[in-house]
Symmetry: C2
C-alpha cells in the first residue's frame, strides 16, 4: 500500500506492507487523516510518542476487516484515534475507539473530529472539571483543539468562553463558534482583559497551549481554586523565577497532559465518555468539525508546513482519494 514515511526529516511517498490486524482491532481503508502537532514533533525526531514509523494518530475510513466483531460491520464508516500509522491507505484501529461517522459528515470532516474533540473534552471536563456557570480561557482559539473546545464548553455545559488568537479573522470565527469574549494577544495583555470582563474575578479554567511565555499572565487570569491545564508549549518550556506561594495561596491545580502517549484503556474510556455526552450533538448540528484545508496524502509535507505557519483555523486534513 501507499504510505508517507519520514526520510531525513521530510515526508516522502513509499510503498509498504499493509498493516496486520490484531485481535480487538479493525483494519480500516483510510479515506482521510487529521494532522496534529504531535505528528510534526515526531517527523522532526524530537521525541515522538508512538513506535509506528508511519505518522498520524487519527483517521476516518471504511471498515475492511472487523475480525468478525458483530458490533462494527464491514463497510461501516468510522472515525477514531489510532496508535500511529494514519498517513497511509490502510491502518488498524482498536475496535473500542471506533466511532460511527454521523451520516451528514464527509470523511474529511470526520477526520477533523477525534484528536481535537477528544483532547478538548478531556482537558475541559476530565481535567478541568468545567461546570455550568463557570468561565474558561482558551488560548489559540483558532487552532484545531481551540475550535473544538469553544464548541464543547458552550454546548456541553454552557460555560462562558474567553479566547485569545492572533488575527481579527480568527477572533471573528471564534465568536461565530460561540466565544463570548475574544482577545487579540498581539494588541492587548490578555490577563488585563480577562480580569476586566470577569469583574476582576478571573477564570475557573485555562486551556494552555502556550506554556512559558504566558506563565505569569495565566496565573493572574485564574480565580482561586482555578484549574490550569497545560497541553502545549508553543511559547517555550522554561520559566524563570516562579513563586510557589502564588500557586498555593490561590489553590491552583496545574495539570500537565498529553493525549497521544496515554494507554489504550485511557483512550477507550475517553472515547466512550465522549460518545455518550458530546457525540450526539454532531447529528443535532450543535457541534461541527472545522476543516481549514484538505491536502492529498502525497502532499503531507506541504500540509505540515502549512500548520507550522499557524495560518489555519481548525483542522488540516489529508485525503487518500
Amino acid at each position: 500500500m501507499k504510505a508517507m514515511v519520514v526520510q531525513e526529516g521530510q515526508l516522502q511517498v513509499a510503498t509498504v506492507d499493509k498493516p496486520t490486524r490484531k485481535m480487538t482491532e479493525l483494519l480500516i481503508n483510510v479515506k482521510a487523516v487529521g494532522i496534529n502537532r504531535t505528528d510534526i514533533i515526531s517527523r522532526k525526531g524530537r521525541g515522538g510518542y508512538l513506535k509506528n514509523p508511519i505518522l498520524g494518530v487519527e483517521i476516518a475510513g471504511v471498515v475492511e476487516d472487523n475480525g468478525n466483531d458483530p458490533s462494527i460491520p464491514v463497510g461501516a464508516r468510522v472515525m477514531g484515534l489510532v496508535n500511529g500509522g494514519a498517513y497511509a491507505e490502510y491502518a488498524v484501529m482498536p475496535a473500542d475507539r471506533a466511532m460511527i461517522i454521523p451520516d451528514h459528515l464527509t470523511f474529511e470532516q470526520a477526520a477533523a473530529i477525534p484528536e481535537v474533540f477528544l483532547t478538548a473534552y478531556q482537558t475541559l471536563f476530565w481535567l478541568g472539571n468545567l461546570q455550568q456557570n463557570e468561565t474558561v480561557l482558551i488560548h489559540a482559539g483558532g487552532s484545531g483543539v481551540g475550535t473544538a473546545a469553544i464548541q464543547l464548553a458552550k454546548q456541553v455545559v454552557g460555560a462562558t468562553v474567553i479566547i485569545t488568537a492572533g488575527s481579527e479573522e480568527k477572533l471573528a470565527y471564534c465568536r461565530q463558534l460561540g466565544a463570548d469574549y475574544t482577545i487579540n494577544y498581539k494588541e492587548q495583555a490578555f490577563d488585563e482583559h480577562v480580569l476586566e470582563v470577569t469583574d476582576q474575578k478571573g477564570v475557573d479554567v485555562v486551556l494552555d497551549f502556550i506554556g512559558a511565555s504566558y506563565y505569569e499572565k495565566n496565573l493572574a487570569s485564574l480565580k482561586t481554586d482555578g484549574r490550569w491545564i497545560l497541553i502545549g508549549l508553543l511559547g517555550g518550556a522554561k520559566v524563570d523565577q516562579i513563586n510557589l506561594q502564588q500557586l498555593m495561596a490561590k489553590r491552583i491545580h496545574l495539570k500537565g497532559t498529553l493525549l497521544t502517549p496515554r494507554s489504550d484503556n485511557y483512550k477507550a474510556a475517553l472515547t466512550t465518555d465522549f460518545m455518550q455526552h458530546a457525540y450526539p450533538m454532531f447529528s443535532q448540528q450543535r457541534l461541527k468539525p472545522i476543516v481549514d484545508q484538505v491536502f492529498p496524502l502525497e502532499q503531507a509535507q506541504q500540509a505540515h508546513q502549512y500548520m507550522e505557519d499557524n495560518k489555519n483555523i481548525g483542522k488540516i486534513i489529508l485525503t487518500t482519494e
Copy 2:
C-alpha cells in the same frame, strides 16, 4: 474571659469579652487547643487568613450552649475546626464541624486531631486521590500533618509510605506509625532513595510542605500521572527556573492548597467525609493523635517558639486547665 492576644508580634494574656454564638454555632468551653504553623504566620502579621484577632483554628472542649440544637447536647465533649479564636477560655464553632471526642481520648489528645488529620485526609484523598497499592512520599514525616498522614495512608487505603525527616529519632517514630521507608534528608538525596525503593518508578503522590528547595527532587520522585500536593513552603517559595516540559511529559498534577482560608461549606463537607471514613478508626485504636508537648495557655508564646525550632514530633497543645 482569658485569651491570648498578639501585641507587637508576641502573645500576651488579656481579658476580653466572651464570644457570642450565632445561629448554627456552638459555644464551647475550651479545654485544649492545637497549635499550627498558620498561627505563627498570623502572629507575625504576614497574611493571616482569618479576621478573628484571637489566634487558633482548632479546639477540644465542652459544649456550653448549643442553641437548642438537639444533635449536640450541652455538656458534650467535642473537637473541631474553628474560624480563629481558639487561644481562649471560650470559642464558637460551627455545629456542622463538631466531632464528638472518642471516650478514650483526653482533651489534649483530641485537640491534636482536627487540623492535622483533616488536612492530611484532604491532601491524601481529596486532592491526591491516593489509592490502594499506590505509594506516597510524605515530607516532614515527624510534623503534625506528617504523623497524621502516615497513619491515614496506611490505615485508610493501605498505601506504601515513604517519609523524609531530619533526625534518627523522627525516622524511628515514623516507622512505628507505619512508614515503610524512611529517609534522613540530611544524609541522603531523597529522590535517589525514592527511585531505588520504587524500582525507578517513583511515587504516585507527594505531600510537599517544603516547596522551592525540593522542587527538582520532588519532580524526579514522581511517577507519570503523579499528584504533587503543595501545602507548605518551609524551604522557600521562589524557584529559579522550571521546565514545564517535565510537568507536561509526566502529566503531573501540581495542586496548591491551604485548609484554613477555605469556606465554611468546604470545612463542613471535609469533616463529614472524615467522620465517615477515618474517625471510627480512633476508637478502634488504628489511628492515634500524636501529642509532643502540652503548654499552659498562658505560655502560648513559648509554645510557638518550640514549634519554630522544629524539634517536635506530632502536635504542640495548649491547655486551659
